[in-house]
Structures are given as structure tokens and as C-alpha cells.
């Protein structure tokens, strides 16, 4: 995704005052340096207020009651859907299905589209960069139905080997390409619109895991050219428990239901049922109404700041951080350097285990992630058991990077890292 030239730099000072948690201290009075937004983002007061406000003043179950509160709750829920649809450039709100998170969205596709359309021998192509949530559902279909899962590898820079994708598309019965837009472990921004074009030419559909892109880049589903897009509210300033599956209208309308129960039906008799219209067909049971409403508030917040400006801010932080980290003896950085890199920095530090690195950083009040980031195939591909990962968002600033670099320098002394 390109960023618009001439976007104003973010007023990070002001933005930080919108996030109450950034005022707290950790580990005996140290200011919090939160560098784990790829795991989950912090929440602005407006989102917290939208969540609490719903329960305080509008709480009722939706689409059922004939009374004012229920009508109000239903309207708020559908307004949130419309906001999300507009945010990602969907052509209509009912292309947006509310789910719990990215994982559930991908499983929904596997369990509805996959079960209806995939037979033994059919191929799903995914990539070595994927989060487990975009691998395991396909492995499950492989075990149950005999589909075949192929993985596109990366090159030495951490970019996808599109030549491999091309070969697979040409030589295999590929029905779906399931690819992450942005790697949560390396920060690679994949050329998904290019991938979608190639896949469509070969007659395959495309599922994009947008968990790390929708929160950080301008994403327009039309420009993306994808058939399915999955993302999580909690990584984009929204609450836990709400996520989104977007799919093209005709495609979504052609799918069988997911879970069965209330809300997803047109009629039920003792003999059987007829499924309801989309998106209700995929939203069985009482949805996370308040969480959806708060996600709408998160979208409002992101739109007010501007996604292009957020992307530009993260590009600036990356440009500040990478050379400083590189200078620390023993640090090895992973992931591509260039325009196709998001605000995610994975590294190893000599022989020191990432848990030790993260534990020492924690003593300085710095929150980073250490582990396999739910990307075990990628870790194996890189020949590491784990990495330490720092990831940015709109509320991070250069001071956070400075604290990270200082703490790593100290960790180097304490843990005796071989340069």
C-alpha cells in the first residue's frame, strides 16, 4: 500500500493522552513502553467509553425486542457494521460478518466455503509466513477431506517467492490462496493485489489475513482484489471479542451457514430449517454487540487520524529504529528492509534466549513479545526457536525506541552477549 505524499506527521503527544493505559507505570514506577501492538493494541478512551457507554445506556439484545432499547442497540450494532464496511471499502454493509477474531473468520471460510467447495486432491496454497490461524484450519481440512496444502517459501530477505506461487498455480489444482497481508513475525508487506490477480487468472479464490494490515495500513478491499478478508478488532484499537470477515457479496451469499442456532435462520420446523440472509446467516447466537459498537468507535478514531498518516508514522519509526538496533553488537534483525515493511521488528541477540531478552526489557518497563509468535513453520524456516519482537503503533514515538536500545545495551552487559 502506498502512502499519500504530504500526510501530516502525527501529533503523538496528543494521541498519547487519548490512551489512559500509557499514563500508568510498571515494575516499580517505570513508565510503560508498550511495543507489543502486533499482539494487541492499546485502547483510546473513546473506545473504552463506547464500550462502557453501551452497557450503561443502551444495553439490550438486538433484532428481537420491540421496545426502544432493543431498537437502539440494533441500530448501534448495524451502524458499527456500516462503519467497518466503509473503512475497508466494502460495497455494502452486509458484506461484513462480525465474528470473534481473525482466527474465527478464517475458520468460518474453511468450514463454509471450504467444506462446500473442496474435494480430495484440491489444493490450498498458503505461505511459510502465516500465523497458525491461517495454517491449522487448512491442515484440518487436509486431514478430514484429503485436500492438499502447499506452502510458498520466502527468500533470504523474508519476501515471498512469487515464482513458487506461479508454479503452483500453473501446475496444481489450486482452489484457494490463503495469504497474510502483513507478516506478524517479520513485518513483510506482501503484494496481495498482485497475488490476487495471479490467483484469479488461475481460477483460484483469495483469502487475505488482514490481522496486521487493517490496523496499520490503508486497506481497500476493492483495490486488494481479494475474495475474503479476515481481521481482529483488538489489534486496531477495538475491544477483545470482536473481529470481521469480509467477503464479496455474491460469494458470501452463496455460502452455507457456519454455526447453527438463533439469529441465523429464516424458519425452523421439526423437520429442519432454512438459513437466513447474509450476514445474519453467519452470526448464530447473540453477538458481541457492545464490542462491535466499540469497534465502530475504534474505526472513528482511526479515520480521524487517517490510515495514511498512521502508516507514514510507522515508516518513520522504523527508519529511526532499524539503524540504531543494528548498531548493537550481537543483534540480528529479521525481515525485509524497504517500502514493503511494516512496524514489526523481530530480532535475536547472540545466543541469549528471547525469553531472557524480554524478561530483562520488562524490568525496564518495556513490553515486547518473545517466542514463536504463532508462526512455528516460519521459525523453523529461519532456523531459530524464537525471536524477540518489538512492534509499533500510532502511540509509539522515538523515545520508546531510545529506551529499547538503552535496555538492550544493558541486557548485553548483564547477559554477556557475544558480539
Amino acid at each position: 500500500m502506498s502512502t499519500k505524499a504530504g500526510t501530516q506527521p502525527l501529533d503523538v503527544h496528543r494521541i498519547r493522552t487519548d490512551f489512559p493505559i500509557l499514563q500508568r507505570t510498571v515494575r516499580d514506577g517505570k513508565p510503560l513502553v508498550y511495543l507489543d501492538s502486533a499482539a494487541t493494541s492499546q485502547k483510546p478512551a473513546s473506545v473504552i467509553e463506547a464500550l462502557a457507554g453501551f452497557y450503561r445506556t443502551s444495553n439490550a439484545n438486538i433484532h428481537r425486542g420491540i421496545y426502544e432499547l432493543s431498537e437502539e442497540a440494533s441500530i448501534l450494532y448495524e451502524e458499527a457494521r456500516a462503519k467497518v464496511a466503509r473503512f475497508i471499502g466494502a460495497s455494502r454493509p452486509d458484506e461484513v460478518v462480525f465474528v470473534r477474531n481473525t482466527t474465527e473468520a478464517i475458520n468460518l471460510v474453511a468450514r463454509t466455503w471450504g467444506v462446500a467447495n473442496l474435494q480430495a486432491g484440491d489444493v490450498v496454497v498458503t505461505t511459510i509466513l502465516e500465523h497458525h490461524s491461517n495454517i491449522v484450519p487448512w491442515h484440518q481440512l487436509a486431514a478430514e477431506r484429503g485436500i492438499v496444502v502447499h506452502f510458498v517459501d520466502i527468500d533470504e530477505t523474508g519476501r515471498l517467492r512469487l515464482d513458487q506461487l506461479e508454479t503452483l498455480l500453473r501446475t496444481q489444482p489450486v482452489k484457494l490462496v490463503a495469504v497474510t497481508h502483513v507478516s506478524n513475525a517479520l513485518g513483510t508487506i506482501n503484494p496481495v493485489s498482485d497475488i490476487a490477480r495471479r490467483a484469479h487468472e488461475a481460477g483460484a479464490l483469495v483469502l487475505v489475513d488482514g490481522a496486521q494490515s487493517v490496523p496499520h495500513l490503508p486497506v481497500d478491499v476493492r483495490a486488494l482484489g481479494a475474495d475474503f478478508l479476515a481481521f481482529s478488532g483488538h489489534k486496531m484499537l477495538g475491544p477483545f471479542g470482536i473481529g470481521v470477515l469480509w467477503a464479496r457479496y455474491e460469494l458470501l451469499a452463496s455460502l452455507p451457514p457456519f454455526l447453527g442456532g438463533g439469529g441465523m435462520i429464516r424458519t425452523v420446523t421439526t423437520e429442519g430449517f432454512t438459513p437466513g440472509d447474509i450476514p445474519a446467516r453467519f452470526e448464530a447466537g447473540t453477538p458481541s454487540v457492545a464490542d462491535a459498537v466499540a469497534l465502530g468507535a475504534a474505526v472513528d478514531y482511526l479515520e480521524a487520524i487517517g490510515m495514511a498518516a498512521i502508516r507514514q508514522h510507522e515508516v518513520t519509526l522504523l527508519a529511526y529504529a532499524l539503524p540504531r538496533l543494528e548498531e548493537i553488537p550481537g543483534i540480528r534483525l529479521y525481515g525485509p528492509v524497504g517500502e514493503d515493511r511494516a512496524g514489526v521488528i523481530s530480532f535475536t541477540f547472540g545466543d541469549v534466549h528471547p525469553h531472557d531478552v524480554a524478561a530483562v526489557l520488562d524490568l525496564h518497563g518495556i513490553a515486547v513479545r518473545a517466542g514463536h509468535h504463532c508462526t512455528q513453520p516460519l521459525m523453523r524456516r529461519l532456523g531459530v526457536v524464537a525471536t524477540t519482537r518489538a512492534s509499533f503503533y500510532l502511540y509509539n514515538w522515538e523515545a520508546d525506541i531510545d529506551r529499547l536500545v538503552e535496555a538492550l545495551q544493558e541486557a548485553r552487559r548483564v547477559l554477556d552477549v557475544a558480539g
Binding site: H353, H355, D356, L363
Partner: protein, 126 residues
């Protein structure tokens, strides 16, 4: 500088005691924590019921490796009976630093491996 990485922990991590393997161990066991990749192998040389010699090898975080080093010192010369009676708290106490729930698995991996070796288990039941 911190509770977790106190001098003696770092000392055991950087200069592990009883590190290596035994030529002809009577008992040998290895295990890992799949989530973090910590790995420990322990070799035992027995004389009767007593641990005459013990060696460990491994890789992983400072806590797992220091704990293994400390554990080997704790049990050298002890009987298998005594090893079987060892509990998690005994090792944690010997470590002497606060271990958060997230790091417990790291701290206790070596004990798990030693117990398997002491009980003569070659592989955990699946």
C-alpha cells in the same frame, strides 16, 4: 540488577556446573519445552542406588540452564530415592529468585528430565 537475574543465576548460566555428557551413562534422558525451545539432557552414572556422577547438556533461556546446573549440584551423591522425593518447590527454593508462572516451565524442565532418568523412563507416554 534484578531479582530474576541475580549474580548466582547468571553465574550458573554462564559457567554451568557438571556440563557435558558421560561416556557410558547408566541412565540418560532428554526433553524440551516445545513452546520456548528449552532443551535439557541429563546423564547419570550410578553406584548402586546412588548418583555417583551427573552431567547435563542443553540450550535455552538463562533460567532453564541455571536451574539445571544448580540441580546437578543438589543431587550429586544423593540416592535415587531422594531424587524421587524432590519436589518442584525444592528446586525453586534453591534457585532463590522469584519465578513467575510464565517461567515455571523453564525453571522446572531439568527436574522433569532428572525424574524421568531416575525412574528409568526412556520416553514419556504419549
Amino acid at each position: 540488577m534484578s531479582d530474576l537475574y541475580r549474580e548466582h543465576i547468571l553465574d550458573h548460566y554462564q559457567h554451568p556446573r557438571n556440563y557435558g555428557t558421560l561416556e557410558q551413562p547408566d541412565r540418560s534422558f532428554e526433553d524440551s519445552n516445545p513452546l520456548c525451545g528449552d532443551r535439557i539432557r541429563i546423564d547419570l552414572k550410578l553406584s548402586g542406588d546412588r548418583i555417583e556422577d551427573i552431567r547435563f547438556t542443553g540450550r535455552g533461556c538463562a533460567i532453564s540452564q541455571a536451574a539445571a546446573s544448580i540441580l546437578t549440584e543438589m543431587v550429586k551423591g544423593k540416592s535415587l530415592e531422594e531424587v524421587r522425593a524432590l519436589g518442584a518447590e525444592d528446586l525453586l527454593e534453591e534457585l532463590g529468585v522469584p519465578i513467575s508462572p510464565a517461567r515455571r516451565k523453564c525453571a522446572l524442565l531439568s527436574l522433569k528430565v532428572l525424574k524421568a532418568a531416575a525412574y528409568g523412563i526412556n520416553e514419556w507416554p504419549r
